[in-house]
């Protein structure tokens, strides 16, 4: 069975380590905050200028001046700090974020990522995505392995305009946990009940399979 969005988030959350500073993109990445492993403390960074993002506010706590990068009202946790967007992206560009999780349209075997623009559709802009993929040493990309017509999003070469080049090394899809190195995808884990054959079939880029591929362990 393909993973649900929440299960993808759950698998990504297993990569969180105690004391990590983490930036989560919108969509599935946001859900990762709900699955921080017991006994581990992490702090979330919001690139508009907040380190230590907390949960949504209660009605009484709502403050129009306290929002996250998705422009939602949020709170700050104890020990949070607030700063300018220049300082925030200095933090990101300088590689100080331990883990960045974000979505994508396409990924390829060179670690290239396309996530911001679909030609002929309306162009809205890249926001902070190009900065995040260029700055982070440790990035996990989440996306569905293939689109609803079965067309793979894990390609030999991205077809859409790129967000960054050679910057992605870990991908978690609804079917698999995959690492990228030496210009190839490497299958490391498969979703429970999903066969290696299905993953091969839905992966357009070169995929290396070494030995037995274990099933993911989820909560």
């Amino acid at each position: 069975m393909a993973l649900t969005r929440d299960q993808v988030a759950q698998r990504v959350a297993q990569e969180l380590q105690d004391g990590y500073y983490v930036n989560l993109g919108i969509g599935i990445p946001t859900l990762v905050a709900n699955y921080v492993p017991e006994g581990k403390e992490v702090m979330f960074q919001s690139e508009n200028g907040l380190l230590g993002m907390g949960p949504f506010p209660t009605e009484d706590e709502v403050d129009p001046d306290m929002i996250n990068a998705g422009k939602q009202t949020v709170t700050a946790v104890t020990g949070a700090s607030i700063f300018s967007s220049a300082d925030s992206f200095a933090m990101i560009r300088g590689g100080h974020i331990d883990l960045t999780v974000l979505g994508a349209f396409e990924i390829d075997v060179e670690g290239n990522i396309a996530s911001w623009m679909i030609p002929k559709k309306l162009i809205k802009g890249m926001g902070g995505a190009m900065d995040l993929v260029a700055g982070a040493a440790n990035i996990i990309v989440t996306l569905t392995h293939a689109d609803k017509h079965g067309k793979s999003k894990l390609l030999q070469k991205c077809t859409l305009p790129l967000t960054g080049v050679g910057c992605i090394s870990t991908v978690v899809t609804d079917l698999a946990y995959i690492e990228i190195k030496d210009g190839k995808f490497h299958l490391k884990e498969r979703a429970p009940g999903v066969s290696v054959e299905e993953i091969i079939e839905k992966t357009a880029g070169e995929l290396v399979i070494e030995g037995d591929i274990p099933e993911m362990k989820l909560g």
Binding site: F56, V62, P64, T73, S85, S88, D131, G135, V165
Partner: protein, 233 residues
């Protein structure tokens, strides 16, 4: 105005001197930290051909978006402009030029403009459409793109408190692009919730020193919320 008193009493005074075809650097992220009153004044003045650098372009009824109606904006430099149908229309028609710039690069370009740094290298955007036509250079085995500074004839800033000498503090994430914008304008105009006396702000906690500020005006606007998300109490 004598000595270091930066307070002005009317929005007319606040934006005096703004002319057609000028460049404006504006703080703000979404509808947070936006200079609603100053922008309404610009609409009232009807100046045209503006180039505006700001992370977003507001909504159709709030912030920079209201300048679209009479086509006052010639060119927009922004990282994300997805909130606004009129914007999309003018962009597709070709009456509005758009230079999409990654958010962090945009913030750094404004800082550079204020800091006398004409250009800097960044890895952001290397190998993408953003790097087209720009110089690149290798440092320590990695490729970087040369990005140039942004400066404006005017800078628009939204802050929480100003003392009469123009020292500013921002409220929570209202800060966003405002401190860099403040440094990048020939004339920097600040719209604030509250005006206090010099000495009321702790010198070590001033976010923008008054040296960057030319005019301060008290706002008359409430603060909107784009996505009101809450949890149970």
């Amino acid at each position: 105005m004598a000595g270091f008193n930066k307070i002005v009493d009317t929005f007319e005074e606040a934006m005096a001197g703004l002319e057609d075809n000028m460049t404006i650097i504006a703080g703000g992220f979404g509808v947070c930290g936006v200079q609603a009153g100053l922008i309404e004044q610009i609409k009232k003045m009807g100046v045209k051909g503006l180039t505006i650098a700001s992370n977003n372009c507001g909504l159709e009824t709030y912030g920079l978006g209201i300048l679209l109606e009479n086509q006052q904006i010639k060119k927009m430099i922004a990282s994300y402009v997805g909130e606004n149908a009129l914007f999309a229309k003018q962009m597709l028609e070709g009456s509005l030029e758009v230079e999409l710039t990654p958010q962090g690069t945009l913030a750094e370009k404004m800082r550079a403009g204020g800091a006398g740094i004409p250009a800097f290298y960044t890895a952001t955007g290397y190998g993408t459409a953003v790097a087209e036509g720009k110089e690149t250079k290798e440092f320590d085995g990695r490729m970087y793109v040369l990005e140039e500074a942004l400066k404006g004839d005017f800078a628009l800033v939204r802050a929480w408190k100003a003392d009469t000498m123009g020292n500013l503090v921002y409220h929570n994430t209202q800060r966003n692009f405002n401190p860099m914008a403040a440094t990048a304008g020939k004339i920097t105009v600040v719209e604030v919730d509250e005006i206090v006396e010099p000495g009321e702000l702790n010198p070590a906690d001033i976010h923008t020193p008054g040296i960057y500020v030319n005019r301060v005006i008290k706002t008359q606007h409430d603060k909107p919320i784009e996505f009101r998300t809450t949890r149970e109490a």
